[in-house]
Amino acid sequence: APSLPTTSKMAASVREKQTVALKRMLNFNAPPLKNTAAEPVWKVLIYDRFGQDIISPLLSVKELRDMGITLHLLLHSDRDPIPDVPAIYFVMPTEENIDRICQDLRNQLYESYYLNFISAISRSKLEDIASAALAANAVSQVTKVFDQYLNFITLEDDMFILCHQNKELISYHAINRPDIQDTDMDAIMDTIVDSLFCFFVTLGAVPIIRCPRGNAAEMVAVKLDKKLRENLRDARNSLFTGDSMAAGQFSFQRPLFVLADRNVDMATPLHHTWTYQALIHDVLDFHLNRVMMEEGAGAEPSPAGARPKKKSRKTYDLTAADKFWQKHKGSPFPEVAESVQEELDTYRAQEDEVKRLKSIMGLEGEDEGAISMLSDNTAKLTSAVSSLPELLEKKRLIDLHTNVATAVLDHIKSRKLDVYFEYEEKLMSKSTLDKSLLDIISDPDAGTPEDKMRLFLIYYITTQQAPTESDLEQYKKALLDAGCDLSPLTYIKQWKAFTKMASTPANYGNSGVKPMGLFSRVMNTGSQFVMEGVKNLVLKQHNLPVTRILDNLMEMKSHPETDDYRYFDPKMLRGSESSIPRNKNPFQEAIVFVVGGGNYIEYQNLVDYTKSKQGKKVVYGCSELFNSAQFIKQVRAADCSDMMLL
């Protein structure tokens, strides 16, 4: 029975809920027992790439093993028959997957089958499986069939994306390309809405939906409202009554769901950043909470005549259990560098303590007899021994972060990313500039051609007055000289023209960047991370456009930007919309979703905003995550004469 409801935040984050759902599924769709000394039951896990992407940020291989999963295999791979083991499937109900499952049934691969579909399977496909099972005389072996409604990927307690595989199908480019057909658009919207529907089913809440008019976000809102409404009306099969509500929801209020379109803010995806997680995503190969780096790719050249160091690839998982990561993923980079150094010092002190204990034990152990073994010394030794794995784990994490932070620092130093960050912040907050844009672009030492293009695009997007033709030519020439590819500029130009027409240009708020100066540089020279020449910049809190939109809607503030947003309440009996929000009170919980893609900068901005508001909870979601390089590729391809904004 649910415990007493509280008026504060929801009991569990969406990450916890999804993890619990997965664990339940992996326990043959039964709630896992609390008894740790229970008999082991073994099973194999079969997933498709979608299933793999959902599981991998939430459960490690070790956790899977501990739950009794002896093998985890891709659906479309060669699998040998293991006739004495039950198999748990976790796949999307697509044509190919269903065919393969039927094939498995015919080949009698496993003892029993637990079929779990990531999103709901259609009746006809279910019949396909039924007939295959009949043909293979395997009906009794199909023990359970479940619709899991888990078609989204949770990366953080408060962040989710829709998919990683095949994300080009619902990418920014796919939605905004000029030659898109209605049917294509429909298909994309259906995919997005399916995932969002799964999200709200897992969350166990029916939100109040707000969206802007005249773009893809509106289409999503309309479809989502319809789908939620239909499900609520269907009393027999509604997913929002009974258990799901009781299990999840302890707040009296419903959450706010804000849909935003990527086109409302094109500068943030191009922005250079200064916080740890966002930097890793920008400069390193980082997705699904996993960093992939080439080891040995340091700045030092190998000594003359030596064999070149073989570059091996190293992967690091940045998980919820990594305390350092959880504490510092949103911190400015210099703070991270300092903290790693501190952690290293603390670790060394603890290591010395353990060594000391060991040596003491070595000396005293010879004189005392068996009787003293049960005395204080044993207790000390036991605690030292038991804290060893902890210590080793800590060392591993310190090494991990040292490597990652060093790689990031190398990028910062070689590309002078601190300069770009500072300048862009000034551009976005319309502060006075101490250098001319042309200088930075023409400087051969600062940044890759892509960095310069990003900077210029941000300038172009945020400037109040468009540059004159001659100025523009000058910039273009400088950019071409620096080796930049100018094709994104065409798209941005048209985007800007359209946006000016449609609404007021996005205001990036009063941000400010304060350089910390000499003091910090002196402090840092003692540490491994020599930040010489790198400015120690302090971020002042400012709201990016998406955060501002959320703030207006969540706090029921009136603002020309959000006043004509549409309002949907799927629980309301009559009529799907009214522009007059019924709810007058500020919301305590909100989910922000950006159609067309988002990034960690936006996420971090929302996290900082939420920290400043007591008792509020905000979850960030986007149809895909891209860093600037990926975004520019899409923008380059989306050269269009006719903007896809309805």
């Binding site: 194999v44 279910l126 997913l239």
Partner: protein, 271 residues
Amino acid sequence: MAVDRTLLFKASVKTVKTRNKAIGIGFDSTKDEIFKRTRPKSGFSPKAKEVITNITKLKDFLLQHRKDYVSAGSLISSDLTRMTDSERDQIDQDAQIFMRTCSEAIKQLRNEAEKKVTSSQIKEHRGAVLDLIEMYLKGVCKLYSEQRAIRVKRMVDKKRLYVPVKITFYFEQENQRLVSEMNSLVDEVRQIEGKVVEISRLQEIFAEKVLQQETEIDSIHQLVVGATENVKEGNEDIREAIKNNAGFRVWILFFLVMCSFSLLFLDWYDS
């Protein structure tokens, strides 16, 4: 929130069956049964399950008797529930044998699995199954070792309290004597140590003073040598001076005598 579609699936099966009957497709179920039976049944899984059953038996056994095993056996509780030490020993022994047997069984299974199997997936699967069984066994062993640790601790504490009195007394006396001897020795040694320390301290001071005096004596020596020289020279000078003085006197005397003689002569010449 997951939705159970198993019933729907069963219903679909029925639908398909009836549809197939209507169309006239039947399935030769007997052939499939035979086909199923001819598939080689591996002995691995039942053996593994057997090991698990045995470990569970051990676990249940340990848990069942845990309370009695661990209980302190106070004088208040009745003798019936109290477990004798020999019973506890028996449990320990049995448990150890059992655990060893299970461990052997797991090892054997592992070797078998290595040899018989060709498919790498099945190998991996069986390896993982055996790992799980081992972990389970470890958990149960932990139960055993926990309660045994409590028992050993209690035994040791008991020994400390209830050792036979006579032997203790004798040892105690001997101890006492040795202790007092040692103590006196220790006192003497301490005294001597103190004295030696004093002596060394005084010696230090002495040496210091001597050194100081050495420098002074050196300087005095120098002075004395110098003075001797000076005195010698002075003596020489005085001798000289005396000689000079003496010579001078002779001349004065001669001069005076000459003067007087000249006066006398002049006086004589005059008259």
